[in-house]
């Protein structure tokens, strides 16, 4: 009898939890923006993951006789570049690189921005120090700052990620701080203090989860922005080192032959645009789903 009722209860709890999850998922699915955005990103991610299958000819394999072949269904799908490499393969492999750089920058900026924002909001003496440095960093146009940083560092992918992160962190830190300043004044934070929680526990256990949604949304914009800036840097020749394919690199190489081979510009440009647009739409949708006021 006793056992029976306990089983019933456990089943009920399980159902309640499932429903809660289902509610969030439904809300997300019903949000057309979020769906459209994720669909666009998923397509690009899928293409990037399946690159070896879809493009058996590697991104660095060249055949000199096939230079600048126009796109065709039975030959080079996206045409070939000035060294006779498949643009299709380069764009897909480039997606891997561009997405990796974008995601790393998004994630790193999120973590660092959150650390800076949280501590700036909690300790007043750190506030001015951290936020003024952030102000200083954001006073310089981000692309320009990234170029300057890349110019003074070795040109490799790790340094590229570092430069783009340095440029993006202030934007996350500002969002995190302003959200955290509001949360810090809430009664439940005072209640936690009166329950004997340490500052570290309050900052990471209670303020951080409460500011996660705006930070997450901001980070998705940073992700998009990092892809654009990476493309811009590579286009200018200070980004991903050649011959490694990234969308910016393909554009850079296409620039010289733009009158003969439109496909070298159009396809990587299209991929960049779709990904960045997808991420931005996704960010907007995410904001609507996470923010209870927009329902």
């Amino acid at each position: 009898m006793e056992k029976q009722s306990r089983q019933d209860r456990r089943a009920l709890e399980k159902r309640l939890r499932r429903e809660q999850r289902a509610r969030m998922t439904r809300k997300f699915l019903h949000n057309k923006l979020a769906m459209l955005g994720s669909l666009m990103i998923l397509t690009v991610v899928l293409l990037a993951l399946l690159a070896p299958v879809l493009a058996p000819q590697g991104p660095l394999e060249n055949s000199v006789y096939d230079r600048l072949t126009p796109p065709s269904l039975d030959g080079y799908l996206f045409g070939s570049d000035n060294l006779g490499r498949s643009v299709f393969a380069r764009v897909l492999y480039g997606a891997r690189l561009s997405l990796t750089i974008g995601a790393s920058v998004g994630l790193l900026s999120m973590v660092l921005g959150m650390v800076l924002g949280l501590y700036a909001s909690y300790y007043r003496f750190l506030d001015n120090l951290i936020m003024r440095v952030c102000d200083g960093l954001s006073a310089i146009p981000s692309t320009l700052l990234a170029i300057a940083l890349m110019a003074s560092l070795d040109r490799n992918i790790l340094n590229l990620i570092i430069s783009l992160t340095v440029v993006s962190v202030p934007r996350v830190a500002r969002v995190a701080r302003s959200a955290a300043v509001v949360v810090r004044e809430q009664t439940y934070i005072e209640a936690m203090r009166s329950a004997g929680a340490s500052s570290t526990r309050i900052i990471w256990g209670h303020i951080a989860p409460n500011i996660l949604s705006p930070v997450l949304v901001q980070s998705s914009y940073i992700f998009a922005n990092a892809i654009i800036t990476e493309a811009a840097l590579s286009f200018l020749g200070v980004g991903v080192p050649l011959p490694e394919p990234s969308w910016g690199n393909i554009l850079y190489e296409g620039k010289a032959v733009i009158h003969k081979a439109w496909w070298m510009i159009v396809y990587p440009g299209l991929f960049t645009a779709v990904t960045v647009l997808g991420l931005n739409i996704f960010g907007d949708g995410l904001r609507d789903v996470l923010d209870p006021h927009t329902n």
Partner: protein, 332 residues
């Protein structure tokens, strides 16, 4: 005689403001005995909440406030402890219940995990153990089917339930003193009665001292053994409940009592109102602080500040801060 669990001596709390230091508490002294339920009344802005926050030292001493005097808890002066030691006292030996339970609970965690967190902080309990104990606490404060409620988020509970959860969090480490800062103000009357009953029951059951801060005299009359009345950062009268309600010595207390609407009067009369408003902290009047609003004030009241003294011919431990009461003239 029971031991004093809390003894506040001459507590002064000053806030740092742009106009300099503001005295929000000015020489407050009172005590709470083991297992005693003491009430603290006063109108808005008189320093009731500042008092509770000062006992817990919740104001940041570097930027916000400065304390003087002594807060003896179990004979130990809390004002001399460092932050680490203070964290052990908070939530384990002294805990607080807030007025608005919805804003005092973290919206992103289920209530069960919030109770469990208090247990993890102070008793070092781990996952399952903490959860079981938390469920036990929910049962103790009278929440039906605690197992399911453990997973509820604060916004999914009713006001009464939320306040019960707050109490569960406050009690889970078996504190020796509970500070309840207007615990029932945000609740409707029937729930208010249930919550007060719960607090009184737990006060007896766990032999825990309770400092009940409220502006509701009815709640005080029903539950407390002793009452302190505050006005402008000072205690103006202190007595056991019966004495205070039958023979209030301070004009302010009399005013408070007369401001309660009554149903048993013969004729319909307008409700009594204490004239004037609470002065700003920056404009504390000279002499007796209540004098400008006091119907019995004489010239002397505006010059000399009265002390908190035993009322002549009154009950034992009946104290009042009033020249007239001290002269034995009474203020009737």
């Amino acid at each position: 005689m029971a031991k004093n669990i809390l003894e506040v001596q001459n507590l002064v709390t000053r806030f740092k403001t742009e106009q300099g230091l503001m005295k929000a508490l000015d020489g407050v002294s009172f005590h709470v005995e083991e297992g005693e339920l003491v009430g603290l009344v006063g109108e808005s802005g008189c320093g009731k909440s500042v008092m509770s926050q000062s006992i817990m030292r919740l104001y940041d001493e570097k930027t916000q406030a400065r304390y003087e005097g002594k807060v003896l808890f179990n004979g130990r002066d809390l004002l001399t402890l460092d932050e680490k030691e203070m964290q052990r006292v908070r939530g384990q030996e002294i805990t607080m219940v807030f007025q608005d339970a919805l804003s005092a609970l973290d919206p992103v965690f289920p209530v069960g995990s919030q109770i469990a967190e208090a247990l993890r902080i102070h008793q070092g309990l781990k996952g399952k153990e903490a959860r079981e104990q938390a469920e036990e606490m929910l049962r103790l404060v009278g929440i039906p089917s605690p197992g399911e409620r453990m997973r509820s988020y604060p916004h999914e509970l009713s006001g009464g339930m939320r306040q019960r959860v707050m109490i569960a969090i406050a009690l889970c480490c078996h504190p020796k003193l509970l500070i309840a800062d207007e615990p029932t103000t945000a609740l409707d009357v029937t729930i208010q009665a249930q919550i007060m009953e719960l607090i009184v029951r737990l006060n007896k059951q766990l032999n825990m001292g309770v400092l009940l801060i409220t502006h509701d005299l009815a709640v005080i009359a029903e539950t407390c053994t002793r009452v302190a009345v505050m006005y402008l950062g000072q205690i103006v009268e202190e007595a056991d409940v019966k004495t205070l309600f039958r023979r209030p010595a301070h004009p302010y207390t009399r005013g408070l009592l007369r401001s309660i609407p009554r149903l048993d009067g013969d004729k319909r009369e307008r409700l009594f109102v204490i004239g004037g408003t609470v002065p700003l902290l920056s404009q504390i009047p000279q002499g007796c602080r209540f004098a400008p609003r006091c119907p019995y004030a004489c010239e002397d009241c505006g010059r000399r500040e009265p002390e908190l003294l035993p009322v002549p011919g009154g009950e034992k431990d009946h104290l009042a801060r009033c020249h007239k009461a001290a002269d034995g003239q009474g203020v009737s």
